[in-house]
């Protein structure tokens, strides 16, 4: 799936040898560096170098102090300590991609962006991804740069949330200024987010959302006659 290309991924600087490395530090450093943006887990280092635990721990500390390597969180498993040569930005597999900060989904940022996007869609009535991105950029409310790709991902989630809907321009009426067939977004029907779903037939009665429905039988221990959910619902 398409993600934003990682920001400013540096190319390794060749042979920036630091003279003051011990043998074990050198071995470890070369290994870590050879793993490029994937980095390597401490346990794997030990296996691959055959160095003793305490030697590895000490060398890693010293390499970190010399600003040659850095520790990163692995989004797949936060307990696995990964090390990377400082020249590299961690790969998408490690970080989880543009929406992750230190191995955690940046929910706060996502929430803000979602609100921002729905506000803009609401204001613009009908808009394309580019139009929305442009409008957000111009408004200058967020200080980080957002790519069109990121906005597109946010819009897709808003569609899945049923906050906005995806339509294709028909060049008629509200679409007059948008070329035929272009994907556009507009606010979904009345009631805003999930407005439609609140009126579902099943969810407006206790049984529709009941966790015990599979155990509930007419003459069983759990039955509609004795059901407390009903009693509460019918408490006038």
């Amino acid at each position: 799936m398409g993600r934003t290309p990682d920001l400013k991924r540096k190319r390794p600087i060749s042979n920036s040898n630091s003279p003051s490395l011990t043998d074990s530090e050198r071995v470890l450093y070369d290994l870590i560096k050879s793993k490029q943006d994937m980095g390597i887990w401490t346990r794997d280092m030990k296996r691959e170098t055959n160095l003793q635990d305490h030697v590895v721990t000490k060398s890693l500390k010293s390499l970190q102090a010399k600003k040659l390597i850095k520790e990163v969180v692995n989004v797949q498993n936060k307990l696995k300590k990964h090390y990377l040569a400082v020249e590299f930005e961690p790969s998408k597999e490690l970080t989880g991609g543009a929406w992750y900060v230190e191995g955690n989904l940046d929910t706060e940022f996502i929430k803000q962006l979602k609100e921002l996007c729905s506000r803009h869609v609401f204001k613009m009535k009908v808009a394309t991804t580019d139009g929305i991105t442009e409008s957000i950029r111009r408004s200058g409310v967020i200080n980080v740069e957002c790519t069109t790709q990121q906005i597109a991902e946010i819009l897709r989630v808003l569609v899945l949330d049923n906050d906005i809907m995806e339509v294709r321009s028909t060049e008629v009426g509200e679409f007059a200024s948008i070329p035929l067939g272009t994907v556009c977004y507009k606010c979904s029907g009345k009631g805003g987010p999930t407005g439609v779903s609140k009126t579902g037939a099943m969810v407006s009665i206790p049984c529709g959302v009941c966790p015990r429905i599979s155990e509930c039988t007419p003459d069983g221990i759990i039955s509609p006659r004795t059901c407390l959910y009903f009693t509460k619902w019918l408490d006038f």
Binding site: L160, G189, T199, C216, P218
Partner: protein, 525 residues
Amino acid sequence: MVAQYGIKLAVSIISSHFGDLVAKVCECLLRKGTLSLGDLVRYNQLQSNQVKNCLLVLIQHNCVQAFSVQKDGAFGEAPKVVTQYTVLFGNILHRLRFSKFMAIVSKEFDKECEELLEALLQHGRLTLEQILQRAQSISKQNDWSNAVQDALRESFVKLVNARYVERCPDPEPFMAPPDEEDAPKRSAKAAKLAKKTAQTLEQRAVAAAVPLESKRFAIMIDTGTDVGGEETPSQSLGEKRKYRELEMDRETMVNISEKEVLWRANFEAFIRRLRHKACVVNVRARLDDGAGTVLNAMLEATKKAESKVKTENSVPLSMDTILEEVMKSEEGRTMTLERVRGALSQLGCHSSTRVAEDSYSVDLRSIIESAQNEEVESIIMKRYGGDAYRIFRLLSKTDRLVETDNISDTTFVEKKETVKILYNLWKENFLHMERITSHGSKQSEFLLWKVNKNSVWENTFDEMCHAALNLSQRMAYELEKEHEILQLPREKRVGQRFERIRKVKTLLESSLMKLDDGLMLFHDF
């Protein structure tokens, strides 16, 4: 095969309307499928007479259709014709919605029509003569002059013309065995396909029982004198004579016709109307009022032209006709041409789906599908929350297998949480899962997920039946509990307890009606 709770609901309806004995026979048919009288007697350990009476009740109320087939005789005996009984599950559930049928007629016609329909719904099948009598007793009018009777007859004709009332089906069509030798040899694939689309014997029997379209809604008996009454040259002499005789005595003919032809409510026509309404309601909520108004006008204008319940597309109409129809309705009067055009495009009537130049038709099937999706999604939302809702919608829209990480990335749900949600949804049969093990440098396992619509829809329908059953049982329980105060004379029915039971009844009833809309959505539309 009908779902578990579908059967239970149907049996409870029959039991509350016709008693336990009839319900027992009905349940046997629902569970075991088509049976003969002998089978029914054996399975239920009842007397043949009892079973016969139960079947008569069920047939009278259009819940069972009989048909006959030829069975090979025992060794050395000639083949014999056996009568089979098949239960009509859909028609049993229709009993829940009689009030909706009445509401349709009361809105479109007058009080007389409503009374006529009520008589038919109450009694299942009646001759015109009987209908008139029942309607009289329902309306409790003392005035029973010829004028009143004529007015009722007129109402009856209106109902038949609107197709809300039809002649009863053939009581027992004979189903010839399929000639296997005749069928050309087909490839295995084609045969499989044919099997999939082929109707069951029961479906064929029900279809065969329906009178021909021309006869189904013909008021007079079949002599050709009905509309225009022109003689066709091919009529034989005998027929001609018969025809003449009848012509001579029109009075007698009317009499025969009133006394012998059985009529019933045409459930199909009502369900078709309710389907239209459901489409309009959905479009109003999902798109806007304008689109709803236009769709309503289009369906209103073509309601007589549809003959199936589950039509894919609305009958094509020209822009002029649509405009004219829209203007007829109150909310449509203010709509401009531009607005109507916009609404049509919202409804998906683009030039590409136009049937012919300047002719518009709406994809009703897809509206029904959205309504079904919404119902299921709302259940997911309420039971599992927003993240699950998003994940489910992603899978339901994608309609193919998607890998866990991919789902997590697209929906912005943490990986671990995603796995948990997917697993829960899978456990409750909302999702289908496939495991794939790849043997690359590291052996790893991937989980792929998908919404299997058919099975999810079936489960939803079954759960709805369960919920409907629960609602009606709770209702029975509440009424039974307050039995005493409900027995009181009207003026004494006051106080808190009475207030409560009144509210309880209203809430339970309206919820059941709403749930019944859901049942139709998944079963009939």
